[in-house]
C-alpha cells in the first residue's frame, strides 16, 4: 500500500481505477451558454428532493410565498428543507407523481408564480472566514443544499470536523463523465470564480489543507477557466487536475482512488480516508448560500438527445414540469419519444413527462423511441466472456451476481458484495449477451432490503409478544396471590366466628 501511494505521488497523483469503459461522449451542448428558463405557469415542488426523510409543508393553500422562502421544514436529521422556487400563490398541496422509477407520488406544493421577483434571502456573510464553521454548516443546512451531482445527499452532514477522521484533502468533482451532460462543464466555464469561492468556504469548514479540482481532459476550456480562477483567488495548496476521460471517473470512490491512491473501504465513507468530495455545482451553491444568503431554488440542466430540436444548458427553477421544459426547447410532440432523466449510463427512463424537475435532475435526454428500442436486445444466456468483471470499477463478478439475483439467492449475492455495486452500468454496457445486469442488481438490493425490514419487524414483534406474555403471567400470579389472601382471610374470620 505504501509503495502504491508513493507511485501515485510520483506519477502526479493520477493513477486511475480498475476497469471502466470508454463511451461515446456526445457532449453536443458543450459550447451552449447557460440560459435562464422562463417560469412555468405552475411549479410543482415535491416536499422531498433529497436522500433521507421527507419534509413537512410549512405553508397553506392560498398563502403568498416569496422566492427563497422556506416552504417545507425538515423533521429528521437526514433531510434538507425545501424553498419556494418563485414568488407566487400556493394553489394546492396534494400528492403528485415525481421523478422516481416506481411512478409513485409524494406530497407536492403547487405554486402559481405571479412574475414578481419578491425574494427572501438570509443575511449575506462575505466575512465567512471570521465565523465559526458550525455556524456556516447551519447556514448550508438551512439553505437546503444537497449534492448536485445526482446523489442529492444533504451536504451539511459531510461538513464536519471530526477529530478521529480529519479531512486532509477536499476534492471538487468537475469530472462529469456521463455522456451528453454538460451542466458542470458550462458552470465551470462561466462561474469559475464562484466555484473557487465555494471551494474556499468548504475547505475552511472542514479544515482541510489540500484542495483539488478534478476535471476530465475532454473539457480543456473548463480546466483553463478554473485554473485562472484559482490564480485570481490566490488559494494556496489548491490545484486543478486534468484526468483521462474514462467512465465512471466521476464516481466518488473511483475519483478518490485516482486522485489520492487511497481506496475507500467497503461500507465506509470518504471521510475515513481523509477526503471530502463535493460536486462543483454544490460548491457554487454553498458560495451563494454563505456569501449571498440564497437558498437552493434552481439548478442547471442539460437538455439534449436527438429528439430535442434546440438542445442546450438551462437554469431551471425546481418544480418546473418536464413537459414544459421540453416544450421550451422545441419538443412538443412526445408520443414517439423516450425521455431519460440523468445521463444515459445511470439515468432512468421516464414513464411520464408530467413530473417536476427536482434537485437531482442534472439532465433530460429525449431520443426517438425507435432508435432506443432497436438498440435494446433480448437477454441471452451468459457466455462467460468475463468482460463485465474486467470493466467493473469495484472489482465485482457481475455475471455471478446477476445469476444469484435472478435465482432469488439474495444471501449469496450479498456474500459476493452486492451492496458494493455503484450501479454505474459498465457491465450492462459491455455485455455481449445483452443481460440487464444492473437491473438485476437493483432488484436484488431491493429484495434484500425488504427481507431485512421484515426480519427487523419480526424481531420487534417477538419482543412485544414476549413482553405481553410476561405481563399476563405476572397478572395471573398477582390474581392467584390475591385469591390466596382472600381465602386465608375468610378462613381466619371463620375460625374467629367458630371460637365465639
Amino acid at each position: 500500500m505504501g509503495l502504491k501511494r508513493i507511485w501515485h505521488r510520483l506519477s502526479g497523483g493520477v493513477g486511475g481505477f480498475h476497469g471502466g469503459v470508454d463511451v461515446p461522449q456526445n457532449k453536443r451542448t458543450a459550447d451552449r451558454p447557460i440560459e435562464q428558463l422562463p417560469l412555468s405557469p405552475v411549479l410543482i415542488v415535491p416536499v422531498k428532493q433529497h436522500i433521507g426523510e421527507a419534509c413537512a409543508p410549512l405553508v397553506k393553500v392560498g398563502d403568498y410565498v416569496r422566492r427563497g422562502q422556506k416552504i417545507a421544514q425538515a423533521e429528521g436529521y437526514l433531510a434538507a428543507p425545501v424553498h419556494a422556487p418563485a414568488a407566487g400563490k400556493v394553489v394546492k398541496i396534494e400528492e403528485h407523481r415525481i421523478i422516481h422509477p416506481s411512478g409513485l407520488g409524494l406530497p407536492c406544493i403547487f405554486i402559481e408564480p405571479d412574475g414578481s421577483d419578491a425574494a427572501e434571502t438570509l443575511t449575506p456573510w462575505p466575512d465567512w472566514a471570521e465565523r465559526d464553521p458550525g455556524e456556516l454548516r447551519e447556514r448550508v443546512r438551512m439553505c437546503g443544499i444537497v449534492g448536485l451531482g445526482g446523489a442529492v445527499f444533504p451536504t451539511f452532514i459531510k461538513l464536519v470536523r471530526d477529530q478521529h477522521h480529519p479531512i486532509e484533502t477536499i476534492i471538487l468533482n468537475g469530472v462529469e463523465c456521463e455522456p451528453y451532460l454538460t451542466t458542470d462543464h458550462r458552470l465551470m466555464v462561466e462561474q469559475a470564480d464562484e466555484i473557487v469561492a465555494g471551494l474556499a468556504v468548504l475547505r475552511y469548514m472542514v479544515g482541510a489543507r489540500e484542495a483539488v479540482v478534478a476535471i476530465e481532459d475532454n473539457k480543456p476550456d473548463a480546466i483553463e477557466a478554473v485554473r485562472a480562477a484559482l490564480a485570481r483567488a490566490k488559494l494556496t495548496h489548491a490545484r486543478v487536475v486534468g484526468l483521462p476521460t474514462r467512465y465512471p471517473q466521476g464516481s466518488e470512490k473511483q475519483l478518490i482512488e485516482t486522485i489520492t491512491g487511497r481506496q475507500v473501504p467497503a461500507g465506509r465513507l470518504p471521510m475515513h480516508v481523509g477526503v471530502l468530495c463535493q460536486n462543483v455545482a454544490t460548491a457554487r451553491a454553498v458560495y451563494r448560500a454563505v456569501c449571498h444568503g440564497e437558498p437552493l431554488t434552481e439548478r442547471v440542466i442539460t437538455v439534449s438527445g436527438d429528439a430535442v430540436p434546440n438542445p442546450g444548458n438551462v437554469r431551471v427553477p425546481f418544480g418546473t414540469p418536464v413537459r414544459f421544459l421540453l416544450a421550451e426547447r422545441g419538443l412538443t410532440d412526445i408520443d414517439e419519444v423516450c425521455v431519460i432523466h440523468g445521463g444515459p449510463m445511470m439515468g432512468e427512463y421516464l414513464r411520464s413527462v408530467d413530473v417536476p424537475v427536482a434537485k437531482a435532475s442534472n439532465g433530460l435526454l429525449a431520443f426517438h423511441s425507435e432508435r432506443v428500442f432497436s438498440l435494446r436486445q433480448q437477454e441471452q444466456p451468459c457466455i462467460r466472456c468475463g468482460h463485465c468483471g474486467e470493466v467493473c470499477p469495484v472489482n465485482l463478478v457481475p455475471n455471478l451476481l446477476a445469476d444469484h439475483c435472478r435465482n432469488d439467492a439474495f444471501e449469496r449475492a450479498e456474500q459476493y458484495q452486492l451492496f458494493d455495486c455503484i450501479e454505474c452500468g459498465c457491465c450492462s454496457y459491455v455485455c455481449p449477451a445483452s443481460i440487464p445486469l444492473v437491473h438485476y442488481f437493483r432488484y436484488g438490493k431491493g429484495q434484500l432490503a425488504k427481507i431485512r425490514r421484515a426480519e427487523q419487524f419480526a424481531e420487534e414483534s417477538r419482543m412485544r409478544s414476549e413482553a405481553r406474555e410476561r405481563r399476563l403471567e405476572r397478572e395471573k400470579q398477582k390474581k392467584a396471590a390475591r385469591r390466596q389472601r382472600a381465602k386465608q382471610l375468610a378462613r381466619k374470620t371463620d375460625d374467629a366466628g367458630g371460637a365465639d
Binding site: E379, F457, E460
Partner: protein
Amino acid sequence: MTGILAAVVSLGGFALAAGIVLAIGHKVFRVEGDPMVEKIDALLPQTQCGQCGYPGCKPYAEAVARGEADVNHCVPGGERTMRQIADLMGVEPKPLEEEPAAPMVAFIREDECIGCTLCIKACPVDAIVGAPKQYHTVIADHCTGCTLCVEPCPVDCIDMLVKPELIEHWSWPLPNTDRARLGLARREAHADGT
C-alpha cells in the same frame, strides 16, 4: 490368556473413562430447552396470527421441532420461510396450502368504538392503545396484520386495510426479459411439484 485379559481390562477401562467424561459433559454442557425451537422461531415472521393452527409463532415452532407439525403451515411467511424451515429440519419442502395475502394493518373506526377493550386483550403484540370507555386505536407501525382483533369486536368497527406502499420501500421488479420470466416460471413449477 493374559493377552485377552489385558485387552478386556484396557478396553473396559477406556469405555469406563469415556462414559465418565460423557456423563460429566452431559451435566456441564446441558442446554435448557430445545435449541431447534429457538432457531425455527427466529425464521417465523412473528405475526402471532394463529393461521397455522397453533396459538402463536413459538408454539408452532415447538410443534415443528417435535415433529408434530408440517413445515408448510406458516401462511404469512410464505415460500421463503417454508424453505428455510425445511432446510433446518432436513426434510423435503412442501407446497404451501395458502398464498400469503398482501400485508395488512388493522384500523379502528373510532366513532363507532364503544371502548370495550376486548380488542386490546386480543392483540398479541400490544399494538392497540385505549382504556375502558375510551376510543381505542391501532399503532399502525406495530400492527402485524394478524386479524385477531376483528373477531372479538362486538360492534364490528375494525377494518383490515392493505398496507400502503411507501415510495422509500419500493423496490425494482425483476427485469422483464424472457430469461428472467423463464427462471421465475421454473421456480414456481418446482415449488408446485414438491
